[in-house]
C-alpha cells in the first residue's frame, strides 16, 4: 500500500542535513497515516508492524526521535506502545529535549527562575510548555513558568492526600511570579487563570469533590490583596461544587453546605469584590495622582533642584501653613448690641443718688464765730476761750500783721488774678519765698496758695509710679491724698514707732534688690495733727542715712513752735535742715496767714515750679497773705519770748489735763496740739466721736471753753483713735488755761460718768 523507499542505512547516514530533514518529515507523515492501522492491527496482524519495523525499524535513534517529534503529541502514547525500544526512547531525555527544541524554539533559552516551583527535566518542561500554550491560553506570551505552576498546583491538589491550605499555595504562586519580575497585578491575574485552568481540568472523582469542598470552606479570602484568590476562582469552586458535584452531596450535607457556605461565601465574595474594586480604584487614583504630579513638575528645575511631585506637595503644604499662620487666631464672633438693646439698657439703668441719705449727724453745724479767732472769741454773743485755732503764736489780730495786710491790700488788691507763671507772681511772693528760705536756712522756697494743697502737690512731683514711700500711718489727709496721686508703692509703719520704721526699711532694702535704683522716701509729720506726737527726727535721720532714703517732713504744726527760735523740728532735734530733702509747711497755723510753702535744695524747689500741679495750675496766694507771712516771720524773729511763752502754756495745760477723769493726754508734752483721748473706747469711732462731741458742746455752752473734736472725713484712712484736739496759743493767759482745765474736768465728770462706771 505504501512504499517505503529502499534506502540503505549507509545512504541515510551520508545524507545532507536538509535531505535527512525532508526524509524525516516524510517518514513522520507516513507514520501518522499508518498509525491507526498499526494500532488497530496490533494484536492480530503482526505483518503490518513488521512492515513498519521494516521501513523505519532499523533507523538510528536520533532519526527516530526526529520522526517522532513530528508526529502530533496525541499520538505519542500509541507510538510508545509499538516497540519496547520506542517506549524506552520516550522515557529518555533526548526525545523530550528535541521535542522542546522543535515545538517551542524560544523556550530553550529561557533562564531558570528562583523560588519553590521546580523546572524539572525536559519531559516536565515539555508538559509545562504544552500547558502554557494549550490550556492556560495566554495571548502570545507562552511562559514556561506558567506551565510549571499549573503542573505544581494540579499535583498539589490531586496527588497529596492533605494539600496545604490554598492561601499558601496561592501565595507561593504569587511570590513566584513576583520574583520573576511580574507586577502584583499581573501575578494576581496569572494566578487566577492558573487556578481556573486547574479547577477545570480536575478529574471528576471523590477526591476532587473533597478538595473543592475544602476550598469552598477556606476563608483565605481575607488575606491582603494579591494573596487572596480572585473572585473568579472562588465562583468557579462553587460552580463546580453545585453543578458538577451536586450528586456527591447527600441530602443533609447539601443543605448544610448551601445554608452555611453560600451566604458566608456570597458575603465573602461580595466583600472581596468590593474590596478589589475599591483597591483598584485607589490604585488607579494613586497612579493618576502620581502621574499628574510628576508630569508637569518633573521637568521644573529651580535653582538646580529638580522639582518632583513630593517637593511640589511640600511647597503646597508650606504655603497652606503660612497662610493659616498669617490668619488671625480664632475669636468667637462678636455680636454687638443693637441700638434697641442699648436703648433698653439705658432706660433700665437707675443711678444711685448723688449723695447718701442725710443723717442727723451730717446736719450738725459748727459754731459760728462773730469775731476774729483769737485766744478769746465771740460765739453766740458770748466770749469764749478759744482752743480751736492753731494760732500758736497768738498772731491773729497782731497789729503789725494787720498793718502789712492793709498796705498790701491797698497796693495789690485782694487776689492775684492769675497763676504764678502768668503774671500772678507779685514781688511780695518772691520776697516771702526768700524770707522763708532765709529764716529756715535753705537756699530757696516755693509758695503754695493753700496749706492743704502743698503736700498733695509736692509729693506727686517727686514720687512717681514705682517709687517706694515709707510713711507713718498717722499722717493727715493732705499727705494721704498726695501719696495716692503719686501712684507709688506705699508702705505704712506704726505710728511714731522707730522700731517699726527700721523693720520696714530693713525689709524693703533687704527684700528688694531693685529698690536701690528706685527713689525711696520716708514721709513723716513733725507734729502729728492726728495725735499730737512729735517725730523723733534724729533717729529718723540715722535710719535714713543707714538705708539711704530721702525724707519728706511736714512741719505745718512745728514751724514757729518747736526749737529755741521757732525754726521747727530740725532746730528742736538739732538736725541741720540740709539733711531733710523736702520740707513742707502750712502758713495757716503759727504764722496766722494762709497758704503753704515747700523748701529744700534749689533743685527741689525749681523742679516744682514747672512740675507741681497745685503750683502751676492754681492762682497764686493773695499778696496780702504773703506780706502777712513776711511780717509774721519778722515778728517771730524779733520776739523770741513768744516760743518760750508758748512752751510754758503747753506745760501748764498738759499738767492741768493729766488727771481728767476718763480722758488721757496722748500728745507729746512739748506739742502745741494737746490731744485728749478716751481712756476706754466705746468700741466704735462713731460712738467715741459722739461722746467727745457731747463733751465739747457742753464745754462751749456751759463753760465757754471752745474745744473741738478731731473729726474724720470718710476719705481719711487714718487708723488712730479720735480725740479732743486743743491748740495752745502763746496768747492764752495762765488763767485761761487753768479755767480750761477746770472746766474740762467738770464737764468730763458729767459726760463721761456713765461711760466710766459700768
Amino acid at each position: 500500500m505504501y512504499r517505503v523507499p529502499k534506502i540503505k542505512v549507509v545512504e541515510v547516514l551520508t545524507l545532507s542535513p536538509l535531505q535527512s530533514f525532508n526524509l524525516c518529515n516524510y517518514l513522520a507523515e507516513d507514520l501518522k497515516n499508518n498509525k491507526s492501522r498499526i494500532v488497530m492491527s496490533d494484536n492480530r496482524d503482526n505483518d503490518t508492524l513488521t512492515s513498519v519495523d521494516n521501513s523505519i525499524g532499523r533507523l538510528p535513534d536520533h532519526l527516530l526521535i526526529e520522526i517522532f517529534i513530528r508526529v502530533p503529541v496525541s499520538e505519542w502514547a500509541q507510538i510508545s506502545c509499538v516497540k519496547k525500544h520506542w517506549a524506552s526512547l520516550f522515557l529518555g531525555e533526548s526525545l523530550w529535549h528535541a521535542a522542546i527544541m522543535r515545538t517551542f524554539p524560544s523556550a530553550s533559552q529561557a533562564k531558570r527562575w528562583p523560588g519553590p516551583i521546580p523546572r524539572g527535566l525536559s519531559k516536565r518542561r515539555f508538559a509545562a510548555l504544552y500547558v502554557s500554550k494549550h490550556i492556560v491560553a495566554l495571548d502570545d506570551e507562552i511562559d514556561e513558568i506558567v506551565g510549571h505552576t499549573y503542573l505544581f498546583l494540579k499535583e498539589q491538589l490531586e496527588l497529596s492526600t492533605l494539600p496545604p491550605p490554598s492561601g499558601i499555595l496561592h501565595g507561593t504562586i504569587i511570590d513566584q511570579f513576583i520574583s520573576c519580575g511580574k507586577s502584583r497585578e499581573v501575578a494576581h491575574e496569572l494566578a487566577s487563570q492558573i487556578w481556573l485552568a486547574v479547577l477545570d481540568n480536575l478529574e471528576e472523582n471523590w477526591h476532587t469533590f473533597l478538595v473543592l469542598k475544602r476550598l469552598a470552606l477556606e476563608e483565605d479570602v481575607f488575606l491582603p490583596f494579591p494573596y487572596s484568590r480572585s473572585i473568579k476562582v472562588q465562583w468557579r469552586v462553587f460552580e463546580k461544587l453545585f453543578l458538577d458535584f451536586r450528586d456527591c452531596f447527600d441530602h443533609a450535607d447539601f443543605y448544610d453546605q448551601e445554608v452555611c457556605t453560600l451566604p458566608v461565601s456570597a458575603s465573602v465574595a461580595l466583600r472581596v469584590a468590593m474590596e478589589s474594586v475599591a483597591l483598584n480604584f485607589v490604585n488607579a487614583t494613586l497612579n493618576w495622582v502620581t502621574l499628574a504630579l510628576d508630569a508637569p513638575a518633573a521637568r521644573a528645575v529651580v535653582f538646580g533642584v529638580h522639582i518632583s511631585g513630593h517637593l511640589f506637595v511640600e511647597v503646597l503644604l508650606l504655603v497652606v501653613i503660612l497662610f493659616l499662620l498669617s490668619q488671625k487666631s480664632y475669636k468667637p464672633p462678636k455680636r454687638p448690641l443693637t441700638k434697641k438693646e442699648i436703648d433698653e439698657l439705658c432706660d433700665e439703668w437707675v443711678p444711685e443718688s448723688l449723695i447718701p441719705p442725710i443723717t442727723e449727724e451730717m446736719q450738725s453745724e459748727p459754731p459760728v464765730l462773730e469775731s476774729a479767732a483769737g485766744p478769746h472769741a465771740i460765739v453766740n454773743g458770748k466770749e469764749v476761750v478759744n482752743f480751736a485755732s492753731a494760732n500758736y503764736l497768738g498772731l491773729i489780730g497782731h497789729e503789725k500783721l494787720l498793718d502789712s495786710c492793709t498796705s498790701a491790700l491797698e497796693k495789690y488788691g485782694v487776689g492775684s488774678c492769675g497763676p504764678r507763671q502768668f503774671y500772678g507772681t507779685i514781688d511780695v511772693h518772691l520776697d516771702c519765698e526768700a524770707r522763708i528760705a532765709n529764716f529756715l536756712g535753705t537756699t530757696d522756697s516755693i509758695l503754695y496758695s493753700y496749706g492743704l494743697s502743698t503736700m498733695f502737690s509736692a509729693i506727686p512731683c517727686f514720687c512717681k509710679k514705682g517709687d517706694i514711700i515709707v510713711v507713718d500711718e498717722g499722717v493727715h489727709w493732705g499727705i494721704q491724698n498726695g501719696l495716692y496721686l503719686s501712684r507709688s508703692t506705699i508702705v505704712y509703719f506704726k505710728h511714731n514707732d522707730m522700731e517699726s520704721l527700721e523693720k520696714t526699711l530693713e525689709k524693703i532694702t533687704a527684700k528688694n534688690q531693685r529698690a536701690k535704683k528706685l527713689r525711696r522716701y520716708i514721709v513723716v509729720e513733725a507734729v502729728y495733727q492726728n495725735s499730737g506726737q512729735i517725730a523723733p527726727l534724729d533717729k529718723i535721720i540715722k535710719l535714713k542715712e543707714k538705708y539711704r532714703f530721702r525724707v519728706l517732713l511736714d512741719e505745718s504744726n512745728s514751724i514757729g513752735v518747736l526749737g529755741h527760735t521757732g525754726r521747727g523740728l530740725t532746730e528742736y532735734c538739732r538736725v541741720p535742715i540740709e539733711k531733710i530733702d523736702i520740707v513742707t509747711a502750712s502758713l495757716g497755723h503759727a504764722l496766722a496767714t494762709e497758704g503753704g510753702f515747700c523748701t529744700g535744695s534749689a533743685r527741689v524747689v525749681d523742679h516744682q515750679r514747672l512740675s507741681s500741679s497745685g503750683y502751676v495750675f492754681s492762682a497764686s496766694l493773695p499778696p496780702y497773705l504773703a506780706s502777712a507771712a513776711i511780717t509774721a516771720i519778722d515778728v517771730l524773729e524779733q520776739n523770741p519770748d513768744l516760743t518760750s511763752k508758748l512752751k510754758e502754756n503747753i506745760a501748764i495745760l498738759w499738767k492741768g489735763l493729766s488727771d481728767v477723769q476718763g480722758l488721757s493726754v496722748a500728745s507729746n508734752p512739748e506739742s502745741p496740739i494737746v490731744f485728749l483721748q478716751l481712756k476706754k473706747s466705746t468700741g466704735s469711732t462713731k460712738g467715741d466721736l459722739q461722746l467727745l462731741e457731747d463733751l465739747a458742746n457742753r464745754a462751749l455752752e456751759e463753760e465757754s471753753v471752745f474745744v473741738v473734736v478731731s473729726r474724720r472725713s470718710t476719705l481719711d484712712k487714718c487708723p488712730l483713735p479720735v480725740g479732743i484736739r486743743m491748740f495752745v496759743s502763746a496768747a492764752h493767759s495762765e488763767s485761761d488755761l487753768l479755767k480750761a482745765c477746770i472746766s474740762l474736768k467738770k464737764v468730763a465728770a458729767v459726760v463721761l460718768k456713765d461711760h466710766i462706771r459700768p
Binding site: 448690641l337 438693646e341 442699648i342 439705658c346 439703668w349 444711685e352 448723688l354 442725710i358 451730717m362 459748727p366 476774729a372 485755732s389 492753731a390 494760732n391 491773729i396 492793709t406 491790700l409 491797698e410 497796693k411 488788691g413 485782694v414 487776689g415 492775684s416 488774678c417 492769675g418 502768668f422 503774671y423 500772678g424 507772681t425 507779685i426 514781688d427 518772691l430 496758695s449 492743704l452 517727686f462 512717681k464 493732705g478 491724698n481 496721686l485 535704683k517 525711696r520 495733727q529 530721702r550 502750712s586 496766722a592 496767714t593 494762709e594 533743685r603 525749681d606 514747672l610 512740675s611 497745685g614 492754681s618 492762682a619 496780702y624 497773705l625 471752745f706 473741738v708 474724720r712 472725713s713
Partner: protein, 495 residues
C-alpha cells in the same frame, strides 16, 4: 478742634527735634566735663526724673524770662512789670529795681476787681481789722465766722442754687470734691481738655474715667450709651453713678461749653452734670451769672456747680453750689472742709462786695457797666484779631482768646517783642497745652479802655507780622477804618 497746617506741624516738629538734639548734645558734654562731680549722692536715685527734668533744663530755661514775670502792682489794666536780668544764660533771673508800665492782657481780671475798688476795698479792710487775715482753723472747728456764712448764702443766691460751700482755693475745690461724691464703681466722663484740677480730683476719686471729645455732645452721648450698656470694666455690673464734668469756658481754648446740648444728653441718660465755671462765673451772662445764664440753661439741671473767685471777683478760693442735701453732705465729709484752713476773711469780704457790685446792690450801675464793657471789649478785640489774620480760638462773648503760635521759637519772640512795646501777654506752652499747640493767650478785662485795646491791637499786629503768626489772610483795611469810628462813640458813651 484745632487743625494745624501741615507745613507748620512739620516745622514745629523740626524745631522741637532740634532743641531736643541740641539739649542732648549739651548734656553729653556736661557729663564728660563734670564726671568727677557726678558722685554727689551715692546710693540715691536722682530726685528729678529724665525727660521732665530735661525739658525744664534744656527747653524751658532758655525762655524762662517769658514766664512768671513778677509784677509790682495790682494786676489791673495797666501794671508794673519788674525787669529782670540774667548773667548765666537765663538759668537764674535776678530782679532789678526797674519797672515798666505795661498793658495787662494776661490776668484773669475779667471785671476789673483786681485793683483797689471804691466799694470793695474799704469793706475788705474793715473785715481784716475785724476778723484778721486768717482763722488758723478749719471750717468745722473754729474757722467758720459770720462772714463765711454770709459768703455762702451770697454765692448760693448769685449762682442760683439752694446752698453753697466755699473753700480757700479753687484747685482744692475740684480735687477734693470729686473723691467725695464719687468713688469706686462710679464713672466720671470728662471733657478731653478739662483743667488739671479736675483730672487730679478724678484720679484721686478712684472712679473709672472716660474722656469725650472736647465740647462734642454727640460724642458724649456715644460714650454714655457705650458705658451704660457695658457697665463696669470686667465685672460688667451697672455703674453706680455717672458724672459728666465740663467747664463753662475752657481757659486754654476760650470756648464756651455747649451746655444746653450736654445737659439734654445727661438728662436723657440720667448722668449728673458737674459744671466748672472757673472762668465763666461773673464774666459772662447778662448779670454775670455764668454760662447757665448766657446759654439759657436752668441751674436746676446742673447738679453740681463749681466755680472760683480768683478770676472775676478778684479774690481767691472756690465754691460748690448744689442742693441743700449735697452741701450738707459735703460739709460733713469733704476733706477740704474738714482739714483745710478756712478762706481768709478779707478775701471772703471781697467776694461778697464784688457780687454786690455785680448785682447792683451797692446802689450803682457799675456792675452792669462792667459786664457790658467786658462783652463789648471781648467781641471787638476778637473780631479785630480775626480780621488781621491771626488764628484766634474760642467763641464770641468769651473774654479768653488764644492766638496760635505753634513753633517753639515764636513763643519767646512774640512775648518779648510785645513786652518791648509795653504789652504784657501770656504765652502758653507745654505742659499747659499739647506740645505742638503753643499759643499766646489774651484775657480781656472790663477795665480796658478802647484806647488800651487799640494800642494793643496795633502792637500785636505789628509783632504778628514780625514773628509770622498771621496764618490766615487779612481782611481789607477798609472795614478796619469803619470799625475805628465806632470805638470813639463808645468811649464817649461809657464815660
Amino acid at each position: 478742634m484745632i487743625t494745624i497746617p501741615y507745613l507748620t506741624a512739620l516745622s514745629t516738629y523740626f524745631s522741637y527735634g532740634l532743641l531736643f538734639a541740641f539739649g542732648q548734645f549739651r548734656d553729653f558734654f556736661r557729663k564728660i566735663f563734670d564726671w568727677w562731680q557726678a558722685s554727689n549722692l551715692q546710693g540715691y536715685a536722682p530726685i528729678c526724673l529724665g525727660l521732665e527734668d530735661f525739658y525744664i533744663r534744656r527747653l524751658y530755661l532758655r525762655i524762662q524770662d517769658c514766664f512768671g514775670r513778677p509784677i509790682a502792682s495790682a494786676p489791673d489794666a495797666w501794671f508794673d512789670v519788674v525787669e529782670r536780668y540774667s548773667n548765666d544764660n537765663n538759668k537764674t533771673l535776678k530782679r532789678t529795681e526797674k519797672i515798666s508800665r505795661c498793658l495787662n492782657l494776661g490776668s484773669y481780671n475779667y471785671l476789673g476787681f483786681a485793683a483797689a475798688d471804691e466799694y470793695c476795698t474799704p469793706r475788705v479792710i474793715d473785715s481784716l481789722n475785724r476778723f484778721s487775715a486768717s482763722t488758723c482753723s478749719t471750717r468745722v472747728d473754729g474757722g467758720t465766722t459770720t462772714l463765711h456764712k454770709e459768703l455762702e448764702d451770697c454765692v448760693a443766691n448769685f449762682v442760683g442754687k439752694p446752698a453753697a460751700v466755699v473753700f480757700g482755693m479753687g484747685y482744692v475745690t475740684n480735687s477734693a470734691i470729686l473723691p467725695v461724691i464719687i468713688g469706686k464703681g462710679g464713672l466720671i466722663i470728662s471733657d478731653s481738655l478739662n483743667h488739671n484740677s479736675i483730672v487730679n480730683g478724678a484720679r484721686g476719686s478712684g472712679a473709672t474715667i472716660r474722656v469725650f471729645q472736647h465740647n462734642t455732645p454727640s460724642h458724649l452721648e456715644k460714650v454714655l450709651r457705650e458705658q451704660i450698656a457695658e457697665g463696669q470694666p470686667r465685672t460688667h455690673r451697672p455703674w453706680k453713678k455717672i458724672i459728666v464734668v465740663v467747664e463753662g469756658i475752657y481757659s486754654m481754648e476760650g470756648e464756651l461749653c455747649k451746655l444746653p446740648e450736654i445737659v439734654t444728653v445727661c438728662k436723657k441718660y440720667k448722668a449728673y452734670v458737674y459744671l466748672d465755671e472757673a472762668h465763666s462765673i461773673g464774666a459772662v451772662g447778662k448779670t454775670g451769672r455764668g454760662v447757665c445764664e448766657l446759654l439759657g440753661v436752668d441751674t436746676a439741671d446742673v447738679d453740681i456747680m463749681m466755680g472760683t473767685f480768683t478770676k472775676s471777683f478778684g479774690s481767691c478760693g472756690g465754691y460748690i453750689a448744689g442742693s441743700k442735701e449735697l452741701i450738707q453732705y459735703l460739709k460733713y465729709t469733704c476733706p477740704a472742709h474738714l482739714y483745710a484752713t478756712s478762706i481768709s476773711p478779707p478775701a471772703a469780704q471781697q467776694i461778697i462786695s464784688s457780687i454786690k457790685v455785680i448785682l447792683g446792690e451797692d446802689g450803682s450801675s457799675r456792675g452792669a457797666q462792667k459786664l457790658a464793657r467786658i462783652r463789648e471789649n471781648s467781641n471787638f478785640f476778637r473780631s479785630e484779631l480775626q480780621k488781621m489774620g491771626f488764628e484766634v480760638l474760642g467763641d464770641n462773648d468769651s473774654p479768653v482768646m488764644p492766638i496760635m503760635l505753634y513753633n517753639p521759637a515764636k513763643i519767646p519772640a512774640f512775648s518779648r517783642e510785645c513786652l518791648k512795646q509795653n504789652i504784657a501777654v501770656v504765652t502758653v506752652a507745654f505742659p499747659a497745652t499739647p506740645l505742638l499747640l503753643a499759643r499766646a493767650r489774651i484775657c480781656i478785662s472790663a477795665s480796658h479802655t478802647k484806647e488800651d485795646l487799640l494800642k494793643a491791637l496795633e502792637v500785636i499786629s505789628q509783632v504778628g507780622d514780625l514773628v509770622g503768626i498771621k496764618y490766615f489772610p487779612a481782611e481789607p483795611k477798609k472795614q478796619l477804618q469803619h470799625q475805628e469810628q465806632q470805638p470813639g462813640k463808645d468811649t464817649i458813651k461809657l464815660e
